[in-house]
């Protein structure tokens, strides 16, 4: 059976950095509800990362994520000076030195990945959606989180990918292949939205239009969250959904604001922020010693 929601796991190592000359090797692990990212940074530079599915056991997936990030490097876990855990599963990772909320980590990560002009971060994760405002240092000035329902999350998108039998990576592009934007489906509940979509399919509405209807409902939903918090330039989207052009383009239209294009993989923002916090904590320790 094809699992349409199943996205590809991957890892990356920087070809240009020699970690042996680094003074501080820091690590951030973002254990989300759907995906886990382990990020290794040397002196504040991105060195390696992995991105994989979380599964049912968060300590295990943190371990696997870290092992995989280190796999094609010759860094051992002993070489890492500090590990910060973040995300939904942050509290039960035995080998992490500290846990920091994903809100602070995403703001800090976005500040590093997109530059200090970032003021508004929208993190669209697997199980929740967060709107964050930050200053030029990546410090959070306001935040709002919605984790009560799956509307506006990656999980909601997975449900639709499965229903329509479209691979999750293709949902965005396909949803943009419509002549006219169809009316959105229910934006307050994925289960209701799904039954509305089934009804549309029964009526013979093509897949791309159903996807368009769902994508516009989702972007409307997250826009209302952003509106509540207030949006200031520059604006960025992090998390898995930021790779879905169907959402990004519609949000862009609704907000009248174009998000910055990422230089790095936007899904690792939380991990990068955690690794940067780890670096600062090592510096603080050394200064105190």
């Amino acid at each position: 059976m094809v699992e349409y929601w199943r996205w590809k796991e991957y890892r990356w190592t920087s070809p240009d950095i020699d970690w042996k000359t680094a003074k501080i090797i820091s690590c951030g692990i973002d254990v989300g509800s759907v995906s886990t990212q382990a990020v290794i940074m040397t002196d504040g530079q991105l060195y390696a990362y992995s991105n994989m599915r979380t599964g049912s056991n968060s300590p295990d997936s943190a371990r696997n994520g870290l092992d995989w990030a280190l796999k094609e490097t010759d860094i051992k876990q002993e070489n890492i000076h500090f590990i910060v855990a973040t995300g939904y599963g942050r509290v039960n990772i035995p080998f992490a030195n500290k846990a920091i909320t994903e809100i602070a980590c995403h703001a800090r990560g976005a500040n590093f990945m997109y530059g200090p002009t970032v003021r508004t971060v929208l993190d669209m994760g697997g199980q929740d959606c967060k709107a964050i405002r930050c200053d030029d240092k990546g410090k959070v000035t306001a935040f709002l989180m919605n984790d009560k329902c799956a509307a506006g999350t990656g999980r909601g998108m997975e449900v639709f990918a499965d229903l329509l039998q479209v691979h999750i990576e293709e949902v965005g592009d396909l949803s943009l292949q419509v002549d006219k934007e169809p009316p959105p489906v229910s934006s307050t509940c994925v289960v209701f939205a799904k039954s509305e979509a089934s009804a549309l399919l029964r009526k013979g509405v093509p897949k791309n239009e159903v996807l368009a209807a769902y994508c516009s409902a989702m972007s409307h939903r997250v826009f209302s969250l952003l509106e509540r918090l207030g949006v200031e330039k520059d604006f960025v989207i992090t998390g898995g959904i930021s790779k879905n052009t169907g959402i990004v383009k519609r949000l862009e239209k609704e907000m009248g604001l174009t998000p910055l294009t990422p230089r790095y993989d936007p899904q690792i923002a939380g991990g990068v922020g955690a690794a940067l916090f780890a670096k600062s904590l090592v510096e603080k320790q050394r200064a105190g010693a």
């Binding site: 920091i100 909320t101 809100i103 602070a104 405002r133 410090k139 959070v140 000035t141 306001a142 935040f143 709002l144 989180m145 919605n146 984790d147 009560k148 329902c149 307050t188 509940c189 209302s224 969250l225 509540r228 918090l229």
Partner: protein, 91 residues
């Protein structure tokens, strides 16, 4: 930092906003809350500030209902207790 705790669902928007820049860390809000919705925490920036406890975040519409009668005056204890005026409710 303006921390918004709560949610939006089909029945409305329910957020408690805590402005940590105004907060003086006195802890009065925690003491007056009859439903133990608010608790003092040390946040990521090492400030001692109130936060809505995890358990209540997804149901504050109901957890806070005793302090919000449909008819009659609404002197919500946490808002009244906060001298610097750091706490607001969206509903």
């Amino acid at each position: 930092m303006k921390a918004n705790y709560g949610y939006k669902d089909g029945s409305g928007e329910f957020f408690i906003t805590i402005d940590t820049d105004k907060c003086n860390s006195c802890g009065d809000c925690e003491k007056v809350c009859p439903s133990k919705v608010i608790s003092m925490i040390t946040n990521d920036y090492d400030e001692v500030v109130p936060a809505v406890v995890d358990e209540h975040r997804k149901k504050i519409k109901y957890s806070c209902a005793p302090c919000k009668p449909v008819a009659g005056p609404r002197n919500v204890p946490c808002i009244v207790a906060c001298k610097p005026g750091a706490i607001t409710h969206s509903w």
